[in-house]
Each structure stands twice: as C-alpha cells, then as structure tokens.
C-alpha cells in the first residue's frame, strides 16, 4: 500500500486562485519526502488536501488508501500534522497540552503522561514541561508541536516548516528525530525552505512552483535534470592548454566531465603535461543549487508558455 497517492490533484479557491494544479505523485511507506517550493507554491494547500481540510477541485488523493475528503477522522487517527496555524493552548503547560491532545486521540491519561514525558525528554523540553505555553519561546513551541503531532504514534507525519524558528542545534536535533522516525517506518511529508536540512534527511523530493509539481524523485534524478556533467575542482600548478576549464582562483579550476570514470583520465593528463596536483574533488550539485536551477528553468518555461 502506498503511503500517499495523488492523481491530477487540483485546488481552485473561491475567486479563481489555482493553488494546486493537477499534481500527481506517490510516496512509499517510510519515505522522507521533501516538498519544496517558494512561498505561495501550494505546499500548505497540498497538506490540507491530503488531510481532508480542503476538498479537491479536481483529481483525487489517498493516504494509506483512505480518501481524506470522505473519511478525514479515520485518516487523522493515523496522521500527525504541524502547520504554522496549528497552535496549542497558551494557558496550559507543555505537559497538559500534550495530555489533552493525546486524550483526543483516545489514549488514557496515564499513557498520555508516559508518552508526553518521553517526547518532552527527547525534544529537550523536560525542564519546561510544567511551564505554561505562553512562556515558551518560538523554538520551544515548535518542538512542542512536533511532540504533539507524535503523541499518538502516527503512521505519517505532515510537517510544514518544522525547523523554522529553531536554533541550529535544535534544528539538528529535530532532523535526527525525523530520521529516527523514518527508520522506524513512519512516512514523513516535509515542507521546508531549509534546503540544507532537507538534503540531510529527505530520501525523495517534490519541487512545486505556482501550484505545479514540476520535478519529483531522489537527488540523483533531480541532479540529472539540471546537468549530466560532473564538475571537478582541481588545484594544480598548471593544466594543459587545450583542456576546457573555468579558472576560479589562483591555481584552482573547475572542469566538467561526463562521469566520475573520467576523473582518473583527467588527473593523468594534468600530471602528464607536467602539472603538480594539490587537490582533486568531484563537486556534486547541492540540493540548493539544483532547486534554484530547476526553479529558474520552470520560471523560464512558464514565461515561454505564457507568451
């Protein structure tokens, strides 16, 4: 059974704003899916569609074979959601908030207390568990939201910017937790702007822009959509005159090759031409570079289409 399956999913809001336009993708169980795109790309709308908060204008979606629009309560029993607008109660303590939400999912109070204590410990909030939420910082609230979404041990987590407002250490802690959850079989649907973190934890990606899902796949697939070439950074005393390269610093050059297999050949040519080699590294495009490159490409295609 697929964790998430959408087919031509669309959402047009009243007023004609097409937030999600005919998107189709599948997620396997246990995947960490990075759903990336600029503000207004339709990421949050997609999360709401996948949780039955919005009715699709076209197409269909299923989460663990449940139609969210038809049976949202059944889906909510197995999903956890964090969005910017899904806040908790300021007048309750962190612990009381978690117990309350745990009870809503049908757990008894003793179970909730046990689970909440473990989660608060895991997310470095144990010292603040009796403090009212109004005294929590943005980062603490964000971590408590993650604890809240995990209270009922969901099969799938929809996380909309879970590391926003977190300091690097807390963000790293949250990412480690997400990876642990994924290794235990929890499917993660992660919307984020923090591409560096996304690259660390996601197994597959979906790139959205203006409601269109224009690229999906793992990082190798996305990389191949940008360029088939491998960039090799070389620090050498000199390189052969006929070698195509880009000089980026003193004795430092970027050279494009078709595959990693060509690197030994390249090294032999430089040494053969009398050059001293100090450093050779294959530079792979980061998710950030791929993202901006594909977004630019998509913008260009959209503009061409509009003309």
């Amino acid at each position: 059974m697929k964790a998430v399956e959408t087919e031509g999913l669309s959402k047009i809001y009243t007023g004609g704003n097409k937030a999600v336009d005919n998107i189709s993708f599948c997620l396997e169980q246990g995947e960490v899916f990075g759903f990336l795109g600029p503000n207004g790309a339709g990421k949050t709308t997609t999360i709401k569609l996948l949780n039955g908060m919005l009715a699709p204008s076209g197409g269909s979606c299923r989460v663990f074979d449940i139609d969210p629009a038809q049976n949202p309560e059944k889906l909510h029993q197995m999903s956890g959601v964090i969005t910017e607008h899904a806040q908790m109660y300021d007048h309750l303590s962190g612990m009381d908030n978690l117990i309350f939400y745990g009870t809503l999912f049908g757990r008894n109070k003793a179970d909730c207390e046990k689970r909440a204590t473990a989660l608060l410990e895991r997310l470095d909030l144990a010292d603040a568990k009796q403090r009212k939420l109004s005294a929590y910082s943005t980062g603490m609230r964000q971590r408590l939201s993650l604890a809240r979404a995990m209270m009922h041990s969901p099969k799938i987590l929809f996380l909309d910017e879970p590391t926003s407002g977190l300091d690097p250490e807390s963000a790293q802690n949250v990412n480690t937790l997400i990876q642990e959850l994924a290794s235990d079989g929890t499917t993660i649907f992660l919307c984020t702007h923090q591409l560096r973190y996304a690259q660390e934890i996601c197994t597959t990606y979906g790139l959205m822009n203006q409601g269109n899902l224009f690229a999906t796949g793992n990082i190798e697939k996305l990389r191949s959509m940008v360029s088939d070439k491998v960039k090799v950074r070389v620090k050498a005393s000199c390189i052969p005159e006929d070698m195509e390269c880009e000089k980026i610093g003193e004795h430092t050059y970027d050279i494009s090759v078709n595959s990693e297999e060509e690197i030994p050949l390249l090294v032999r040519r430089i040494v053969g031409a009398g050059g001293d080699l100090y450093q050779v590294s294959a530079e792979q495009l980061s998710l950030e570079e791929i993202y901006f490159s594909l977004i630019d490409k998509n913008h260009a295609e959209t503009e061409c289409g509009n003309l």
Binding site: K48, N51, G52, M53, L54, A55, P72, E73, K74, H76, Q77, S79, G80, V81, T83, H85, A86, Q87, M88, Y89, D90, H91, L92, F100, Y101, T103, L104, F105, G106, R148
Partner: protein, 262 residues
C-alpha cells in the same frame, strides 16, 4: 459523549475559567442581577414603603386582593416571582454566549482550532462537545446564581421582615425549561455567527439581540402588560426549545473544515 468529547469540554471550561477578563464579565452580570438588584428592591420595599406607590397598579392586577395579604409581602412576592425571573433570563443568555464565542471563535483567533480539526473527532462531535461546554457553563452559572440569590434574599427578608418568602412554581419552569432553552438559543445564535466572525466580540454580538425580548418581558412586568406565570413561562420555554432545535440543526450544517479554516 465519548471520553474525547468530555476532554474537549473540560478543556473549554478550563479555558474560560482561566481567563480572568472573561470570567469577570461572566460573574459580574449574575452578581448584579441576582444579588444587587433584588437586594435594592427588597430594601426599598421594606425600608422605604412610600417608594412602592408606583407598584400600586401592578398590585391591583394580581389575582390576590391586597386585603388578603400584607401589601409588603405582596410586593416582595411580585419582585421575586414576576420581575426577577425576567431579569434572570439574561444570565443563561450571557453566560452561554460568552462561553460559546470563546470556545468557537476564541479557538480560531488563537489558531488552536486547526489543531483540533486534525484530531480524529468528527466535526459533528467537535460541535456537540463545544455546545455542551457552553450549555454546562450557562446552566451552572444560572443555577448557582439562583441559589446565591435565594440565600441572600431569604437572609435579608428574615432580618428585615422576620419571615421568609417561598418562590413560586414558575421558578421551577424557569430553571428547568426556559433557562436551558434560552441558553441553547443563545449558543446556536453565537455558533452560527462564529462561522463568519473573526473575533470573540463579533460572535458575542450575535446573541445581543436576544436581550431585547428579555427587556420587553422585564418592561411588561413593571407595567403589568403581561405578568409571567407558570403557564406563560411553560409556553415560552417550549417555543424557545423548538427554536433552539431548529437553529442548532441549521448551524451544524454550516460547518465544514474549509469554512472553519477561513
């Protein structure tokens, strides 16, 4: 009601009782209507008898002649059984509408409603739990206000007149039928308004118009146009109960996830 709904109800009630501003509003009105106002009337009747001349016309309309009973006792009975019940109806209206505005729009304002919507409770179950929370608070405040009023009034009367006054059957109708029914009407009106309202105050204002018929009832007691009795109250209670049922049914249909998240 399942345990999840009870947890939600309990949380809603705790939200209101922990909000000092809302709690003060909720307690000031009953205090004024059931302690201050009746006490002022009782003191006027017993200590300044000439001030009661205005009630003479009202007394003439009562089925009991002034000769049969002490005029002071008659006036006190008129205040307790005719005038105060009309004022009293403002309490369930106010308490229930404040509570339900807080529980529906308050959640929207504080961005906690979306989190609730991601729970496995259906919209109908959420709706029921929130209505029950408003109703419970409305009735609790009403019954406690009545008990406090009777206690204070009887003590005052005992010291001022040497006797106590037994409330009429009409109070039973007020407490068991009219107050619950008007409380549900207030909740239904507030909830219907909550679908569009963006602030708690906006939602509460929806129930304000209910105050006007109550004021008309109060005026009719003072002028003697329509003095309440058990039968009139029974009829009023039934009409309100039917109205509450119709409004609730209509309000329930207005709620969808999409509309609530707007």
């Amino acid at each position: 009601m399942n345990t999840q709904q009870l947890a939600l109800m309990k949380k809603d009630i705790r939200s209101i009782t922990s909000n000092k501003r809302v709690l003060t509003v909720m307690l000031m009105v009953p205090l004024a209507l059931t302690i201050v106002l009746p006490s002022v009337l009782v003191f006027c009747i017993t200590l300044v008898p000439e001030s009661t001349a205005d009630f003479q016309k009202l007394l003439e309309m009562l089925p009991v002649s002034a000769e049969e009973q002490n005029q002071e006792q008659l006036l006190l009975g008129l205040v307790l059984n005719k005038i105060i019940p009309a004022f009293f109806l403002m309490i369930p209206v106010m308490a229930s509408s404040v509570m339900s505005a807080g529980s529906f729009v308050g959640e929207k304002e504080k961005h906690t409603l979306e989190t609730l919507l991601y729970s496995p409770l259906s919209l109908k179950q959420l709706f029921q739990a929130k209505i029950m929370a408003g109703f419970t608070v409305g009735m609790l405040v009403s019954i406690l206000s009545f008990a406090a009023m009777m206690l204070v009034l009887e003590i005052e009367l005992f010291f001022l007149t040497g006797s106590v006054l037994v409330p009429e059957m009409s109070w039973l109708v007020v407490l068991l039928l009219v107050a619950p029914a008007i409380s549900l009407v207030a909740i239904a009106v507030t909830v219907r308004g909550s679908a569009k309202a963006q602030t708690m105050e906006e939602a509460q204002q929806c129930a304000v118009f209910l105050i006007f018929p109550i004021l008309a009832l109060v005026i009719s007691q003072f002028t003697g146009i329509l003095l309440v009795n058990s039968w009139i109250l029974l009829g009023l209670g039934i009409v309100l109960a039917v109205l509450a049922a119709a409004l609730m049914k209509g309000a329930e249909g207005k709620f969808t996830y999409e509309r609530l998240l707007k």
